[in-house]
Subunit: 367 residues, 2 copies
């Protein structure tokens, strides 16, 4: 077996969990990141972009490159791609970086979204409020995550504040979607175009940050399940995507509505580390290294993932729960920072509910 060398742009918890999944497959990791202490410090070589000749050294030291974030510099990816393959490719990255382009693309593929309008002036914002009907959500078309870079306009009185907060950026105004819950679907596509779709997750947020994901989704009708699989397969093939792709969805009466995609492993798929036969991290690594994909199906009847945010909490309370698995990211405490997560499993949803109750402190502490 020849050792594959994977370069990761970034060195956060996603890179950490990719490495933990890839090392047993004899894959070596190189992290391209400025931080000297990071969640990936102990899992491979670090190259600091500010160092002399850093990029050339990074490119020379790897066989294939991936990235942790949809905010990765497209220019950097293009440069690397001239010498080494970068997966997911430029197309997936560029489409994910611009909310307007992304939603247009969704519609072109027949994937439902909220109604939306481009906004570049206060007048256009007022016009969007009339056209779309209040309430609306206004977001920067680029950057922004975990609830940052967006505002809600409930009445015309909110327009000034929203404009003040976001002016200077290209914006997208979106009609409010009347949904019952937030879902996400994650899938991996290999270099030959084979696709494996993970069970759909239901996600609960608090202040814009994912708090809990659960699998399977209660009472999801087969038609919607199929719709989610169709949506993500359409996207994967259209983008010629290699690696993991995530699509966030709203569950609405008439069907699923796409919110946004992420060209990467996703927080709502962390349950798969022990929950699936092959986790999203292992499948991402397999895909970009040209290996066959693994089975994404759930091993247990019911799974849940709880984010540990801001404070570490009582570790021993997690370890003492026979159905829980602790995953820390080697980060120090800071408000709203994702420090780790807990995976919980059970033979029934009730069993998972019981575990979640004993672990409620981790959910309540931050909200």
């Amino acid at each position: 077996m020849t050792t594959k060398r994977v370069g990761v742009i970034g060195a956060g918890q996603l890179g950490r969990m990719m490495a933990l999944a890839g090392i047993p497959l004899d894959i070596d990791f190189v992290f391209y990141d400025e931080a000297q202490q990071s969640p990936c410090s102990n899992l491979g070589t670090g190259i600091r972009p500010s160092a002399n000749n850093a990029l050339a050294q990074f490119i020379a030291s790897v066989d294939v490159v991936t990235y942790e974030s949809e905010n990765t510099s497209l220019e950097l990816v293009r440069k690397i791609n001239l010498q080494k393959p970068v997966y997911p490719g430029e197309l997936s990255l560029s489409k994910s970086q611009h909310r307007l382009t992304e939603k247009t693309e969704f519609n072109d593929l027949g994937i439902a979204t909220a109604q939306f309008l481009r906004v570049t002036s206060k007048d256009e914002l007022s016009y969007a409020c009339q056209q779309l009907g209040l309430p609306i959500v206004v977001k920067t078309t680029t950057e922004g995550y975990d609830g940052k870079g967006q505002a809600v306009i409930k009445t015309v009185a909110d327009i000034d504040a929203a404009w003040h907060a976001l002016a200077g950026n290209e914006l997208i105004a979106e009609s409010f979607v009347n949904f019952s819950r937030e879902l996400s679907v994650i899938a991996a596509r290999d270099v030959h175009g084979n696709i494996q779709v993970y069970p759909i997750a239901e996600n609960a947020h608090h202040e814009g940050i994912l708090r809990v994901s659960r699998v399977p989704v209660k009472d999801l009708c087969p038609a919607k399940e199929q719709q989610a699989k169709d949506f993500i397969s359409l996207l994967l093939n259209h983008l010629d995507h290699v690696g993991v792709l995530t699509l966030e969805l709203f569950d609405c009466e008439d069907g699923l509505v796409a919110n946004e995609m992420a060209p990467r492993v996703h927080n709502s798929g962390h349950w798969s580390i022990e929950g699936s036969y092959c986790s999203q991290f292992e499948n991402h690594v397999r895909a970009i290294c040209g290996m066959p994909l693994g089975n994404p199906q759930a091993k247990q009847a019911a799974s849940a993932m709880i984010n540990i945010i801001g404070k570490n909490g009582d570790r021993d309370c997690v370890l003492a729960n026979a159905n829980a698995h602790l995953h820390m990211y080697g980060k120090s405490e800071r408000p709203n920072r994702k420090l780790g997560h807990i995976n919980v499993f059970g033979d029934s949803e009730g069993e998972v509910d019981a575990s979640l109750e004993t672990l409620a402190a981790f959910i309540d502490e931050c909200g």
Copy 2:
């Protein structure tokens, strides 16, 4: 959460899998080993014993120390123990290093063994052949593993060759045990004396090297299961052992007979990485770090572990099996070298049998 720093004497696959299990618990690892390239190279800091001031540096850089092998220098462990705790302790290590002491200890605790005699001369060897009745096995009392450092005497004509091969060492002569199969029981004990016992494994060897382990053991009567649990609990408590301990057993008509113990995680427990709620590696790390123990029970109806020995084989054939997990050790090919293992799971023994058949090449290649 304060990061615990675990020092490991050695840097082989056992250290590698300890680190892969411990890193998600925010544990940092330091490996005390001469090799510059090792299975642990990417999983923590390496300190080479030959380096200037190496031991003092190693001791200063960790909170607790463990070791990978029962052949670890007792003197080294004693030195370290003056400044930092070493788990499992000196007692477990010293008893495991001497087959004669070990077997005497077993008998003192009421744990059955083969009949045995100390042998230091050819005359004593001839006497042992008469006393124990042929065939017998002769082993060096110290060192030796995977079938090395031992000889079988079937007829008196074999005595010369055996003596020639092993002379110069203190030897132990053992009567042949009439067993139907080889089993092992693994358990973890925490700093408070709590014990968690893993399901018993059935082990198949080839040329003295473990080839396949399976869980559960077919048709093992509850009395023998209890006996295995009693044996290992007696040992753990007697040795005031902290961490994982393994006891190899022969399954005989009248009950179980102990072969030898290893004061460490064990090849026959590698199935537990995905097979148990909490693997032997995670429980060892939890125990030595003063954390509560996790659930050792099997998640699936049937599990198996196949060692990849000498040659890497066809990796993609493993990855394409939806019920298989590949664990490589980052080592290069060499005859009789353990390069990795494959964990296989199923809802029934038949399902595991079917997977083993598709993976038969990995078992056959070396034997």
